[in-house]
C-alpha cells in the first residue's frame, strides 16, 4: 500500500491582476533606418504600419528592462514582490542560456526565492507563459505568478536587410497572475507547426557563429508568414472565442501580437470583428517586440483609455516555430 500523499489545493481559477511595460528611451525613426537600407518612409509605413520603434541602449539590458516592467506590474497588482511564487520569462534575445535570466530578475525584484525559469516560444511567448502560470495557480504550485515577455530584437536584426531592418523593436512587458473566484482567463488554444520551422529562423545558429562573422539575425519568408498569420491564426482566434464562450459582440478588446499592421488589419477583417472592438495597433510606435508585444500593447491601451479594467480581451500570439497561443482574458 503506497503512502498517502498530500496535495496542495489550488485556486479554482486565475486572473491577470496587474500589467506593466518598459520601452527603451531611444526612439528610432524610419529616417534613421533608411540610413542603412535603400527604401522609403512611405514603403516602410505601407508594408508594416511602423513609424517609430524603441531600441535599447547598452544599459537597457534584458534583465534591466524586465525588472522595470515587472516592478510596474507588481505595483499594479497591488501585491508585494515577496508574494510572487514563480517567475516565467519568455525571450529569444537573452544571449546566455545558463543561468536563466528569470532567476536574476526574481532576485533583483526582491521576490525572495520563487521558482524561476525561462521559456522559448518566440512571439507566442506571452500566451505560453500565461497558460503555464494559470496552470501553476490552479494546481496549487503557486499563488502569484509573474510572466514577463522581453526582447532586444535590435541585437538580432540585420540592419542592412531592407525586408526586416525596420521591423523589430525592443522592450519588456509583464503581468502578474493570481487566484480568482471566477474564470478570468479562458481556455488557451495553442500549438506548434514544426513542419514550418524554416519559415522564421535565426540566420546562423550559435554553435556555428564565429567572432568576426555577421551577427545572427532574424529572417522570415514574408508571404508565407503573412498567409499563415492572417488566415490560419484567424481560425485559432475564433477557436479561442468559442472555447471561452464569448461571442464577437461581447468582446471589448482585441490584442494580437504586434507583428505587422497589415497582418492586424487583415486579421480583423477575416475575423469580422464588430467595429465596437478596440484593436491594439501599438506596432505603429513600438515595432515588433515579439514576446513583449502583447503586454506592452495591453498596458498602453489601459493607460490611454482605449481599454478599461474589466474589459474582455482576445489575445493571440504567433511566431517562429511556428507556434501560437490564443485566449480570452479579463483585463486587470
Amino acid at each position: 500500500m503506497p503512502a498517502a500523499i498530500n496535495a496542495r489545493p489550488g485556486s479554482p481559477y486565475a486572473r491577470i491582476m496587474g500589467v506593466g511595460g518598459y520601452r527603451p528611451s531611444r526612439v528610432v525613426t524610419n529616417e534613421e533606418i533608411l540610413e542603412r537600407i535603400d527604401s522609403s518612409d512611405e514603403w516602410i509605413r505601407s508594408r508594416s504600419g511602423i513609424v517609430t520603434r524603441h531600441w535599447a541602449g547598452e544599459d537597457e539590458t534584458v534583465a534591466e528592462m524586465s525588472v522595470a516592467a515587472a516592478g510596474k506590474a507588481i505595483a499594479d497588482a497591488g501585491i508585494g514582490a515577496e508574494q510572487v511564487d514563480a517567475v516565467i520569462v519568455s525571450t529569444v534575445s537573452h544571449f546566455a542560456q545558463t543561468p536563466s535570466i528569470a532567476t536574476e530578475i526574481a532576485h533583483r525584484l526582491g521576490a525572495g526565492k520563487p521558482a524561476a525559469f525561462d521559456i522559448s516560444a518566440a512571439c507566442a511567448g506571452f500566451g505560453y507563459g500565461v497558460t503555464i502560470g494559470t496552470g501553476l495557480i490552479v494546481a496549487g504550485s503557486a499563488r502569484h505568478v509573474l510572466v514577463i515577455g522581453v526582447e532586444r530584437l535590435s541585437d538580432l536584426t540585420d540592419h542592412e536587410d531592407r525586408s526586416t531592418a525596420f521591423l523589430f523593436g525592443d522592450g519588456a512587458g509583464a503581468v502578474v497572475l493570481g487566484p480568482s473566484p471566477e474564470p478570468a482567463i479562458g481556455p488557451t488554444v495553442w500549438g506548434s507547426e514544426g513542419d514550418k520551422a524554416d519559415v522564421i529562423t535565426q540566420t546562423v545558429p550559435w554553435d556555428e557563429y564565429r567572432p568576426g562573422d555577421a551577427f545572427p539575425a532574424l529572417r522570415q519568408e514574408g508571404q508565407t508568414v503573412f498567409r499563415w498569420a492572417v488566415y490560419e491564426m484567424a481560425k485559432v482566434a475564433q477557436e479561442a472565442l468559442d472555447a471561452a464562450g464569448v461571442a464577437p459582440e461581447q468582446l471589448d478588446v482585441f490584442i494580437p501580437h504586434q507583428a505587422n499592421m497589415r497582418i492586424i488589419d487583415s486579421m480583423v477583417k477575416t475575423l469580422k470583428l464588430p467595429e465596437s472592438v478596440a484593436v491594439a495597433r501599438d506596432i505603429e510606435t513600438t515595432g515588433n517586440t515579439s514576446a513583449a508585444s502583447i503586454p506592452l500593447a495591453m498596458e498602453r491601451m489601459l493607460a490611454t483609455g482605449q481599454a478599461r479594467s474589466g474589459d474582455t480581451a482576445l489575445v493571440i500570439g504567433f511566431g517562429a516555430g511556428l507556434v501560437y497561443a490564443a485566449t480570452v482574458v479579463t483585463l486587470p
Binding site: 508571404q223 503573412f226 498567409r227 505587422n260
Partner: protein, 82 residues
Amino acid sequence: MAATRKEIIAGLADIVNEIAGIPQDEVTEEKSFTDDLDVDSLSMVEVVVAAEERFGVKIPDDDVKGLKTVGDAVGYIESHQS
C-alpha cells in the same frame, strides 16, 4: 464546372478591386500585379487566398512568386482547377 478564361479574368478583377481598389476594367491580362495594379507582396497573398476560394484551386507560396501578371494567374488557375 470549371470556369472559362473570361470568367477567371472577371473574378480576378473583382478580387483586385476589392483588395486594391483598382477599377475592374483595368484588370487585364497583360497587367503586372505589382507594377500596374498596386498589389504589393502582402496584398498578393490576399488576392491568392481569395482566388483559391473562388476558383477552388490551391496556389502554394512557392508558385505565387511566378504569378507576375494577371495573365499568369489566369493561366495558373485555368490549368489547376478541377
